[in-house]
């Protein structure tokens, strides 16, 4: 009885949210009459392709969770960075389409690097100011990174300082960063948003608890902060003095709507203008003439991790001197033929079509095609071929000798545990399919969906056989030594939990990030070789690359979403309904 009531309740809740949303928060524009004759603003208007950008309108973004802080060096979640990213300047930008590091959109006009690849000199743009008129300069950058290093500041961003030896302000518009070693992905570490140093204490004593962490007083981005109602909404207003030109829209609202169904309903009703949508909601968005859908490959993938070492006896991958420690092999999964048979036994396309509802793409190895320069498109994913898989197992000696339907070898049945985290329905479905497809080949897979905390414990403790999990937020650099280097095979804490051990890959990973100059064409061969080895060794069964979908209002002009940023040119967008 309670079940349908739940559905009814859900519908009622959606209704209530829609109705409740009638009391919509609207931004109050102080000084609405402020002359838009600002040099930068008129500049932006002229770049507008349609040429008829009308000021006004509010862009509302429905998000699933609320921000935790608006301080760019304390935030660690995407809900927070989505907001402060629109308020803070940064030293480097990321190309919205290719993911490459670029000065575009950042405070740097250009940069150069010394021949040994250690000293980076950034030349900043002149005339950029905070919204209170104070200049944005190299001191803000240095202050921000010094704050991260300060003992008074607790932040997960401390790792961004790795490899940095010094930061020197040459003059207000020139800053020099010296690295202790060449670290090609280190440049990305310099991309955090800056704190306005003139508002924070020089000794960093108030960085952790300044009121500006919750209500930033100044901005150097396209918007300025107006208000933040916890777990409800955050309102930003147009920054008239934004250096790339003030936005056309009056403001942007972030509204917290935890339920995906409610987000979709609000998107359809026009209450919100943009939101992420679930695979099963795609057809609804596509069928709505008022909405558009942006479909992009995310920087993540899903896989089945195969423990290569004995789960009964987890060992670290190397000792303190860096010598490899020989792992006690996994009784079954250390046999490459078994892993190869598994790789051929899964029907990846069918999994993508049915479990991911088409929102995925087959991948062959550990570098995603989104990182174009490092991606080796000549490696083909393993083809679905159950007969070949059966043949491989037969040849490797795994045959059903006792007639119980399960293959065995030397008295050991081909029995393995497969786990994933409970509550992730996609992974649960994937687990059922993997179990069924492998069992039909003569495996005896026990599949269990377990609590996430327990799963992580097993995973990091390296006590699992097979696990369905995924990586997200891999970013724009192909360096993933966290997953493959033996120094990251430490039971209990590190991410090479499959105990992948390959000296050549160890070398390649270290050399690939330390090439002076870091030119993509120089680094690419290293990553090509890594991909080939990982593809051949099969420590993971690579299932699918992730695809994300964003539904947004068709009423707005100028939106040009890129895979790495949806709103990189938000200041040029305009509400076409206002033009009529």
């Amino acid at each position: 009885m309670r079940k349908p009531q739940f559905i009814l309740l859900t519908l009622l809740l959606i209704g209530a949210l829609v109705l409740g949303a009638c009391a919509q928060p609207t931004p109050v524009m102080p000084g609405e009459a402020a002359a838009p004759a600002d040099a930068a603003a008129s500049d932006a208007a002229s770049t507008e392709a349609t040429g008829e950008a009308v000021r006004g309108g509010v862009w509302t973004d429905a998000t699933s969770s609320d921000a935790s802080t608006l301080n760019p060096i304390l935030g660690a979640d995407s809900a927070s960075s989505g907001i402060y990213g629109l308020l803070t300047p940064a030293l480097i930008g990321v190309d919205p389409f290719t993911g490459a590091v670029t000065p575009d959109g950042s405070i740097s006009e250009s940069w150069d690097v010394s021949d040994d690849g250690l000293v980076w000199t950034f030349h900043l743009r002149d005339g950029v100011t905070w919204s209170d008129g104070d200049p944005v300069d190299a001191n803000d950058f240095k202050y921000t990174y010094d704050a991260i290093g300060s003992d008074l500041v607790e932040t997960v961003r401390k790792s961004n300082l790795e490899g940095i030896e010094s930061i020197e302000v040459i003059d207000p518009l020139t800053v020099q960063v010296t690295f202790g070693r060449v670290q090609c992905d280190g440049l990305l570490n310099l991309g955090l948003g800056w704190l306005p140093s003139h508002l924070y204490a020089d000794d960093f004593s108030d960085v952790m608890n300044s009121p500006y962490n919750l209500e930033p007083a100044v901005s150097a981005g396209p918007f300025v902060f107006q208000s933040w109602a916890r777990d409800d909404n955050t309102i930003l207003l147009r920054n008239e003095s934004y250096w790339q030109g003030a936005p056309n829209m009056d403001g942007k609202i972030f509204r917290i709507v935890p339920d995906p169904g409610a987000r979709l309903a609000q998107l359809q009703s026009g209450e919100v203008d943009v939101t992420g949508i679930q695979p099963e909601q795609i057809a609804v968005v596509d069928g709505d003439a008022n909405l558009k859908r942006f479909n992009a490959r995310d920087d993540g993938y899903a896989y089945v991790g195969l423990n290569l070492a004995n789960p009964e006896n987890p060992q670290p991958g190397q000792d303190e001197e860096g010598n490899l420690i020989e792992q006690e092999p996994h009784p079954i999964l250390s046999d490459r033929q078994v892993r190869l048979a598994m790789a051929h036994a899964l029907d990846y396309q069918s999994i993508i079509d049915n479990v991911y509802l088409g929102q995925g793409y087959p991948i062959a190895s550990n570098v995603l095609p989104a990182v174009e320069w490092a991606y080796d498109d000549s490696i083909e994913p393993y083809a679905y071929d159950p007969e070949l898989a059966a043949q491989i197992l037969d040849e490797a000696g795994w045959v059903d000798s006792d007639g119980d339907g399960i293959r065995d070898k030397d008295g050991m049945p081909l029995a393995l545990n497969l786990a994933t985290n409970a509550g992730n329905t996609t992974r649960e479905d994937l687990g059922v399919l993997v179990q069924d497809q492998l069992n039909s080949l003569g495996f005896d897979i026990t599949f269990e969906a377990i609590d996430f905390g327990t799963l992580v414990e097993q995973l990091l403790g390296q006590t699992f056989d097979m696990v369905i999990i995924g990586w997200t937020g891999l970013g724009t650099d192909p360096n993933d030594e966290n997953f493959w280097h033996t120094e990251n095979d430490v039971p209990g804490s590190s991410f090479n939990f499959v105990s992948f051990q390959n000296e050549r890959v160890n070398e390649l990973l270290k050399e690939g990030v330390s090439i002076p100059g870091c030119a993509p064409e120089d680094r690419a061969p290293y990553y090509y070789e890594i991909q080939q080895i990982i593809h051949d060794e099969i420590p993971y069964l690579f299932v699918t690359g992730s695809i994300g979908n964003t539904g947004y209002s068709a009423d707005w002009q100028g939106i040009d979403p890129g895979e790495w940023s949806f709103e990189w040119n938000i200041e040029t967008w305009s509400d076409a309904t206002l033009a009529q």
Binding site: M1, R2, K3, Q281, A283, V355, D429, L433, D436, I450
Partner: protein, 346 residues
Amino acid sequence: MSVTQVSGDRIPPAVESAEAVQLRRKPQTYWSMALSSLRHDKLTLTAMAYILLMVIVTASAGPISRTLVGVGPNDTNPENAFQQSYLGPYIQWRLGTDPMTAPLMLGRSGGVPHWLGTDQLGRDQFVRLLYGGRVSLSVAIVAATISLLLGVTVGTIAGYFGGVVDDVIMWFINTVVSIPTIYLLIIVAAIYSPSPLVLTLFLGFLGWFGTARFMRGNVFRVKALDYTLAARALGARNRRIMWSHIVPNSIPVIVVVTAIDVGVLILTESVLSFLGLGIQPPTATWGNMLNRARNFLFLVDPVTGKPQAIHLLIWPGLLITLTVLAFYLIGDGLRDALDPTLKNKK
């Protein structure tokens, strides 16, 4: 009858005829009265028949799914995901009103008749409902039995001995009961991996407080009745009084409470599954089937624009609703039938 014996050897005609009138109506025991009352209660009988059918059908899930469908509960066929119910088209096909639909659906499923359609992985919903029902029902019934045994024992002891024993037991029950059960279960489910066995034990061991309270109240009542006093006067031991007099005379209360309990437990199991804290996939239960289907509420066919997965919501939802309702109705009907004080009040 003793009356006639007291009045002497010679039986007066008037008395004789009165006795003849009495004999025309069979002497009724408590239970036969209850049965005859039940016999007229069609609603309760229907509910009982439904539950009986469910128990039989789910208990024989294996043979039924082999003969009627031919696949197991976790056999996937991704090519045939979200197939609509085959039952309607099959009937239409048999009646000749739509000769094509049913054979077409069979072709896509590889010859397997999915009577109630398939889910997102092409698993047969009918088979999964059978196996899921087996888990849902047995968890609820076994857990209700555990709480019945515990509740009756503790309630009887508390009520019978009273005094300090009663105070301590009631203090314990009141303390635990003041923690909302659902939170207690959520905590427990988060700590222990909720397998069917674990869940059954926890539901049973956390569910007896209500029964115990009911029992205690009833024991207080029965304890004060004359026949208990008589038993005591005859020198019966405590144990004999409890088990021969008090417990049997509390059966009506227990039966009603337990029937309703089973319904509540099915709901609790569903709610936990709905929150993702119940029995985990791939084991099917009605609750986790419904929970999974909830995600597909918005899934529409890109070509026709029709919802694709409504059948995955309707069937588990319907079965949970009907089953819980049936247990409530049985509880209600039994109370009417078993409580003599409610006689002729209709």
